[in-house]
Symmetry: C2
Subunit: 221 residues, 2 copies
DNA sequence: CTCCAATCTTGTCGCTGTAAAGATTGCTCC
DNA sequence: GGAGCAATCTTTACAGCGACAAGATTGGAG
């Protein structure tokens, strides 16, 4: 174990995920990470400045990974991918949404976070290419960007809420497949939003001409 | 500041909320609470055993309060009440859903948590008395308890997800009224679930006779 | 009035994060 | 190839933390 470890930074980030998954983020300790990496207790500080710095890098990496896994697929599949990410990369997920743990204004982190948020809203806005009947659909048909954001935030909320509730053990069906349950919950999202009486501010937002690439409205039911 | 403080336990619980709202739960310190209460550093331990014990009592109190604020009102209003609770009693809310911070098997806490969960599911099951057209409705019309649980979990998820995302600053519209935004998101929940093709296991769950107290199905759209 | 149990204090221990200063190494430039 | 330099890691030190043990103080029951 020489002075130059090779890629201590990377090793520490992986040890972070490991440690959090084992003992929770509250019990995370820099010195424990150093021990796991076989390095002196002050070595981690050199790479990340302080504990918040470590978690900043950890969260930023998480946002990058999330943005990547969110790319492609329908709106519904994006929700599924969101939940899958939360359950698979549990440690990253838990840190990402606890901004009191890291430097929330770090440029790299802000950029990564914006990237994944963009994926979320983009899908809500540009609609759902291939899953007519999936349960989650976009509001792009009326070209209303505000509705798209509402749709995106609703989908984000239900996916995020399910993931956190599941992870915290709040749901009773612990033996069930969480992904299947998540799909069932997504079905509860609006499928026929044309009966939503929109508020006046929504309407004057733009002309209501139907979208040319409207292809996800199926006449069933 | 005599030996018998009066109601140190209560004072400490209130100081806990204060400290968490100021510096986040990660920075919470028993010794700081003692300082706030004007008491020696070991006094809190006597009342709660350890830090996890303090947070156990704190979370249990939170679940009690939540159950209380969830009582009464429509299914939609319950969602609103949930969000309002999360934003108002932020410290309690943050601790409640971090079971790694407290003794999750504590009897008092388990009871309190069950009480609020019961309120959630009950409303989903027994339906929505007064808000036909509110956007969230129960599935009780087909007497299917599984659907009711799905409905309840979907509502819980979207409310919980919105609350946590809002609190973590994930949404861009920080200036907007969060309660109004929450209402808008709840509108995205299913209003016409009769077009949901239910799976076979759902169907054989019981006879499909319509509920006698069916009163929230409006024929619009 | 006495005694006891509840309450709070004091002192101590090992652990933590952070900072400062020193040791070792690899790389660059001459 | 050798000097110097910057990056990397170690060592040492310190204050704050949670937890424990032992002692001081108090209110109330008998």
């Amino acid at each position: 174990m020489a002075y130059h470890h090779g890629d201590l930074r990377r090793v520490l980030l992986e040890a972070t995920a490991e440690a959090i998954e084992e003992n929770g983020v509250a019990a995370l300790s820099m010195r424990d990470l150093a021990r796991r990496a076989g390095v002196s207790h002050a070595a981690p500080t050199h790479h990340f400045g302080d504990k918040a710095g470590l978690l900043t890098a950890f969260a930023a990496e998480g946002y990058e990974q999330l943005a990547q896994e969110l790319a492609g697929g329908s709106f519904l599949e994006m929700g599924v991918a969101y939940v899958r990410f939360a359950l698979t990369r549990r440690a990253q997920f838990e840190v990402m949404y606890r901004p009191d743990l890291y430097h929330a204004d770090d440029p790299a982190l802000v950029a990564a976070r914006a990237k994944s948020a963009e994926a979320l809203y983009d899908r809500a806005e540009h609609g759902n290419q291939k899953s007519a009947g999936d349960g989650i659909q976009s509001d792009a048909r009326n070209g209303n960007q505000k509705d798209a954001r509402i749709t995106g935030q609703a989908g984000w909320s239900i996916a995020h809420g399910f993931a956190t509730l599941w992870l915290s053990g709040a749901f009773p069906d612990r033996d069930q497949d969480p992904i299947a349950l998540a799909r069932a919950l997504f079905q509860e999202l609006n499928r026929a939003p044309e009966d939503l009486n929109r508020t006046p501010e929504d309407v004057d937002r733009g002309p209501e001409e139907p979208d040319p690439d409207e292809l996800d409205r199926d006449p069933e039911a």
